[in-house]
Structure formats: structure tokens, C-alpha cells
Amino acid sequence: MKTAVAALILIIALAAAEQARAQQLPGNRETVEIGLSTDTIAITSGFRGTDLTVFGALDNADPLIQRQGRYDIVVVLEGPERDFVVRRKDRFFGIWVNAESVSFQHIPASYSLASTRNLQDMTTPKIFSQLSLGVNNIYYEPMPDGFGSSESLKEFTKELPRLKLKQHLYNQRPGDVQFLSSTLFRATLSLPANVPVGKHIARAYLFRNGEFLRENATSLNIVKAGLEFRIYRAANQYSLLYGLFAVFLAVVTGWMGRLVFRKD
């Protein structure tokens, strides 16, 4: 039942075009690249979560700044966007009932982050919120008509990332981007057991002296493999046939039981 998630390996290859473009910006020639050895990961049903290693390269770095450790890198793996409802239970006649709720749209279903240092040590909160970088800076967009008052919106917007962190679907690992050499770095991200299937985007953000320089992105498809997932897909894509088959199975089981245990 063990799952193999392929360790994702590097592409250090530096695109010539990228280099040319960087050279047009004097004093700002650094580029960041991340690469994945595969564009698809298949996870099987016994998947219990794993670490995902992403390698990357920082090129044209200033050796002095590099030695002083003033380059910072953040790598994020963002899951497919979904709409979510956050609910709060209140007590009615002693019974706990889902009462108020706020609906959000275009929310990443999962969000794994690794960074060279604690985010607050890297640059100002303003820059993070401009980049929507970090669990507390993602823009949690409410659905129009999806909420009651602005106070409740504020309250539920705070709860959303907390619930996601609690489910391990959102996670942040400061210190888990490490330089292996002056140009090569490794980011270790957490893929939780309940990682959503679909298209994930991996992004690398490069900072120098607290200043955001550029980002680079690549995509990764997470699919589920195995019989269980085929059943899941059948239930969703061919739901009528699936339902009829479920009935058929039940009838056959009942009938078989009669045959096997027929009374004398």
C-alpha cells in the first residue's frame, strides 16, 4: 500500500532567452528557476502524505550578497481552486447546529510553502500581501452574496486558513529551502494525505535584501491511481450506471446468500 511519489528532480538548464531578458535589467540580473522531473504524480489510495522535493537554481547571483545570505527564496505549491463554505455552530435548545456561514470562491484547495527563513524576517508584510504570498496573505475572496455582515466576513476569513492548516492542507515550512551550493537550492514541501487531485502550480519567489525580484512557475498534475480511484471516477462520471450496478450487486449478493444457505 506504500505510495511512491517520484522525487522531483532538477532542471538546472538555464534558458538562454531568460538570460537575455534578465540582462536588459541592469543590476537585477538574477534569475530563479525550478524544475520538476515529472509533470504528473500518481498517488495510490493508501497514500499517507509525503515530502515533495523541488530543486531549483539561482543564477547570476551576486557572490557578495549570496555569501551574506541576503537572497531569500520561497517555493509554493498551490492546489487547484475550489469554492468553500465555512460554517460556525451555535447552540439552539442545547443542540449544536450549523448556524452562520460564509462562502468563498477561487480558494486554493491546498497550499504548501517552504522558505529560506521565517517570512516576517524576509521582507515587509506589505510586499507579501501584494504577492498574496503565505497562508495569511492569500486573497480569500468571498462569494458575492456569500456572507452576512462585514464583521462575520472578517471572522470567517480568519477561520478559513486556520481550518485549512488544521487539516494539513495548508502548511508552511520556514527554513526548508536550503542552498546546496551558491546556485543550487532544494525546497522540501509537504504533500498531505488528503492532497486534492488536479493541476497544482509550483512557484518560486526570489528576494534580494528584502526586495522582490522575480518569480518562476511550473505546473504539476496530481492524479490518483488504483482501483479505488477508478471506482470514484465511475461514481462521478457514470453515476447512473454506477447506481444501477450497485443495485445489481446487492440483488446478486442477496440471491447468492439464499443459494448458499438454502434450508433443507
Binding site: M1, S45, G46, R82, D83, F84, V85, V86, R87, R88, K89, D90, G94, I95, W96, V97, N98, S101, S103, Q105, A109, M143, F156, E159, L160, R162, L163, K164, K166, Q167, N194, P196, V197, G198, E228, F229, I231, Y232, A235, N236, Q237, S239, L240, Y242, G243, L244, F245, A246, V247, L249, A250, V251, T253, G254, W255, M256, G257, R258, F261
Partner: protein
């Protein structure tokens, strides 16, 4: 579990890993009880699945699927013996399908409102405590009568009641009754509604209602009730599969296999044992399950907040 190994299996729809033996024995234990008492067992399976952390929506839909297996073999037996009123049963099916269709609509609505889990629990608390309480009372009465040296006797079908004054009467030959189709359709509809919301066959309501309201002779009651349950739970299963995608066939297979085997042994044991004590035991079990569900409604949850995917955009 005391076994040297634990065989885990991933349920594709419930999306959790479970122990094969736990579910198999759960099915077998409920099957044993259902064989012993001649009940479908759906009203025990669904709450047990909820206790085992199966999402209530999946527990309800799969419960309905599971009921088909035991009801089908029972209905077949009664059909061969001729203790099944096909005409009355079919009319109950018509009402049942209408009720189940309404039930599925309400189910979807409650799910969107985030109130499904609560309503399912509340319905179970109400029905389990009522049925358990009545059964306990009835079996204690029977025990007292036996101790007093009296023979326990079923109530005679009494005088015609208000049901028999309703219009649109129809003759049902196998049941030897002449009754309005209104109560038949309403009864079928109510059972269908409960079947789709609670994942039960509904025999525990259908059988007494047929005896006391419609005055159907006891010998055809069980067969006719099973006949209706097969069709209505089959319809519910297909509807749940198409609207909620919440039928887990892996889970259903485990429960059904255990259930079919357990039911055979249950039926044998049931013939040898004293009825009243057993009924009292089942009643206490039913009450305990109801109580456990009731407590959960009142206990302060660990986290007052919860997050779910908005249903309009389910993953493809």
C-alpha cells in the same frame, strides 16, 4: 482488534481507510440481529457507520444499498410461498418512489444548507428511541404475562377504523382487504421519504402500520413490506448515486457479505431462543444507539467552525 493483522481498505467514496474486519463483522452482527428478529437492520447500520466516522451522507446512501440485499432474498422466499400481495406491494412502491424522490430533493437541500448531518442524527434519535421504547415496553409486558401464566396473544384486528371510511377503495385479493388507496399511497410515500433520508428500508414502521392501519393479515405483511423495500431502496440507491455520488459500493459489498452470512445464523438462533428476552435485548441495543447519537448532539464540538467544498463545484 486482537488479530495478528489488520487489513485496511480504502473506501473510494467515503474517502477514508477502514478495517475490512470491523466492517465485515458490523455487517454480520447487524445481519445476525436482522435474521433473528426479521428486521432489515438498516436502522442499525447507518448509525454504526456514522460512529465509525463514515460521512453521514455516504452512510445513508450506502445503507439503502445494503438493505436491498437482505430484503431481496426475503422477498423472493415470500413470493415463492405466495405470502406476498403484489398488487398492494406495487401500490406501496408507487407511493414509495414518490416519497423517495421528495426525500432526495430534501436531502440535497439539507446538504447545501449544511444541516444534513444534524437532521439525520435527529431523525435517528427520534425513531430509535420511539421504536426501542415501544419494543422494550411490549417485551416487558409479554414477560410479565408469561410469568403470570397467561398466554401472550396478539391483538385481534379490531373494528374498522377511520382509514376504512376514506374514498377510492380498491380490493386486494391476496390480503383479503378492501381499502382506500389513499392510506396505502401515503404510507408508501412516508416510508420512501425515510428510506432516502435515513438509509433504512423502513420495515420497522411499515409492518406495524400495515397491521394496525390497513388491517393486512400478518402472514402477507412481511413479504409485501419486503417487496416494497426492495424497489424503494433500489430507487433510492440509484437516485443517491446520480444526485449525490454518495453510494460506496466497496463499503456496501463488505456490509452485504457480512450481513447475508450473519442473517442465516441469526434466523437459526432466533428460532431456538425465547422471544421476549431477545426483544428486550434488541430494544435496549436500539435505545443505546439512539442515546449515543443524542449525546453527540449536545456535547460541545472540539471546533465550532467547519469547512466544506461548496457543492455547486464538485471536483470532476
Amino acid at each position: 482488534m486482537g488479530l495478528g493483522f489488520a487489513l485496511g481498505i480504502y473506501l473510494p467514496i467515503a474517502e477514508i481507510s477502514v478495517n475490512v474486519f470491523v466492517l465485515f463483522f458490523m455487517g454480520a452482527a447487524v445481519g445476525f440481529l436482522s435474521g433473528m428478529f426479521g428486521v432489515g437492520g438498516g436502522f442499525l447500520i447507518t448509525p454504526l457507520l456514522i460512529f465509525y466516522n463514515i460521512p453521514p451522507a455516504v452512510a445513508v446512501a450506502t445503507g439503502a444499498n445494503q438493505v436491498i440485499a437482505s430484503s431481496f432474498s426475503g422477498a423472493l422466499t415470500h413470493f415463492k410461498r405466495g405470502t406476498l400481495d403484489v398488487k398492494l406491494g406495487s401500490l406501496l412502491v408507487v407511493g414509495g418512489i414518490a416519497g423517495a424522490a421528495v426525500g432526495i430533493y430534501v436531502f440535497v437541500l439539507l446538504r447545501e444548507l449544511g444541516q444534513l448531518d444534524l437532521i439525520v442524527s435527529l431523525l435517528y434519535v427520534i425513531f430509535l428511541s420511539t421504536v426501542g421504547g415501544l419494543m422494550l415496553y411490549e417485551s416487558l409486558q409479554a414477560m410479565r404475562r408469561t410469568r403470570a401464566g397467561q398466554l401472550s396473544n396478539l391483538k385481534k384486528p379490531g373494528q374498522h377504523n377511520w382509514v376504512h371510511r376514506l374514498p377510492f377503495k380498491m380490493r386486494f385479493r391476496a390480503s383479503k382487504i378492501y381499502v382506500s388507496i389513499i392510506p396505502v399511497l401515503v404510507l408508501g410515500g412516508a416510508i420512501g421519504f425515510l428510506s432516502s433520508i435515513m438509509g433504512v428500508g423502513g420495515g420497522f414502521i411499515m409492518v406495524p402500520a400495515m397491521i394496525y392501519l390497513l388491517k393486512v393479515p400478518t402472514n402477507v405483511v412481511i413479504g409485501t413490506s419486503l417487496y416494497q423495500i426492495v424497489f424503494v431502496t433500489a430507487f433510492t440507491t440509484v437516485m443517491q448515486a446520480t444526485t449525490n455520488q454518495s453510494v460506496d459500493i466497496v463499503l456496501a459489498m463488505l456490509l452485504m457479505t457480512g450481513g447475508v452470512i450473519g442473517a442465516q445464523y441469526g434466523a437459526r438462533v432466533g428460532q431456538k431462543l425465547r422471544g421476549e428476552q431477545l426483544r428486550a435485548l434488541l430494544a435496549m441495543l436500539v435505545l443505546a444507539v439512539g442515546l449515543r447519537l443524542a449525546i453527540e448532539l449536545f456535547v460541545t464540538p472540539d471546533d465550532l467552525y467547519s469547512i466544506t467544498v461548496a457543492l455547486a463545484t464538485r471536483a470532476p
